[in-house]
Symmetry: C2
Subunit: 243 residues, 2 copies
Amino acid sequence: MARKATPARTRAVRAAKATVPARGERKRGGPRAAAASENTPYHHGALRDALLQAAERVLERDGLSGLTLRAVAREAGVSHAAPTHHFGDLTGLVSELAAIGFRQFNAAMAAAGASATAPLEKAMARARTYVAYAQAHPGMYGLMFRTERLDMSRPSLCEAANASFAGLAGAIGASRQEQISEQALSLGQAADIARAWSLVHGFTMLLLDGRLTDILHRLPKGTDAGMLLDAMLKRAIGQVPVA
Amino acid sequence: MARKATPARTRAVRAAKATVPARGERKRGGPRAAAASENTPYHHGALRDALLQAAERVLERDGLSGLTLRAVAREAGVSHAAPTHHFGDLTGLVSELAAIGFRQFNAAMAAAGASATAPLEKAMARARTYVAYAQAHPGMYGLMFRTERLDMSRPSLCEAANASFAGLAGAIGASRQEQISEQALSLGQAADIARAWSLVHGFTMLLLDGRLTDILHRLPKGTDAGMLLDAMLKRAIGQVPVA
DNA sequence: ATGTTATCTTTACACCGTAAAGATATGGTT
DNA sequence: AACCATATCTTTACGGTGTAAAGATAACAT
């Protein structure tokens, strides 16, 4: 509700030759460094990235329902129709943002997989990292999984999401001590993958949706979600692969 | 996109003393049966229930993003502001609809729990029923779990959702052969509940989101989601309680 | 220097949620 | 029987949203 209505603000400022930059000091490291140094230029220079960063801020601040094309444009200080030129429509922007989320997520998971050595410890570390990412970036995680407004045909999103799945499948394959093919899966392999993914994804969704707060509230004082996750996995792990 | 724009249609029809009923033949079993028999009355008589039924139709037909107050009003054949009077706002209507979903779901789960006798069979039957409900009513299930537009302080929704959780907890308690208290939980109990719920909820969400289609596609021809669910649970069940 | 193209703004429109006021039927009171 | 309070439904209105189309401006190639 802050920043009520500023239509034609940047334009008016520019027309009046004002010196205060509405959106100055961008990186713009490439060409044209000393063209119009301080006063806000008509061309942003790196608006696409700036819009994505603004979108992530809006998402984590105002939630998924607050993530609108116009809100992102306001956050970036450009006209409300500027995002359309770079992303086509809202689905496009959301999908590109989700792709960024998957890349962040994949990086975190790769780091977690490299940390521990024992297979059981490695599986636990991966699960903890999975949930921790979702807790640190709830808006992003929701965007990546709970929205139907994703265009999976977009190469960047498809690629990042597939990489995420490949990481999971690879971890399951390692715990089964076998190579998992890109094409065919045995029912046992698929069951192991689905079990591990369902467990951790389901726990994450229930946690983010607040469906576990009652349970956590009834537990001995001081028990948090991480401890519940550990307890949940400890009896599932070892019996069957969990990642 | 059908039914483009019919503003003031019902009103105009009524004003012109037309005989064709725009929303005739309601139940209206209570009072005033022979007042104005055929021509659409100003007072609907059971608009609240009719709006909820219309909302469910819109939800399953057009998805969650198509579930708007105005679309529901159109579906029910009343003015766009009529739902507001009965539900306050969109959150109110969505919450009441979710409560209906939970009651449907609880009825299905209760029937599944009564069918099988052996504890292992009962657990599998419950899991299959859980997923089957979500597949039969994907819009409803999404509404019940994946939206932040629910007002859990509404008594009807809170009660129905709590009943659903109580059913789960009771089943876990039975499989552990112990009574589960309403107030306190041991970590082991909570872990069993969280594990069962996460497994089946996670599987359901991934399935509805299309995240498992790749896996299913790589499986031997003819393998469907139900078989994958069975295989996933078969190695989790018995080792640990799954419900 | 000039024309092409990419980038960004302005304008416009339909749909949405919501509030407020008007219209109409119901029921109770006198 | 007349009357009024109330509940129900419609109309009107306003700001916000996505999106399309046209205009303005800067960068670039020639």
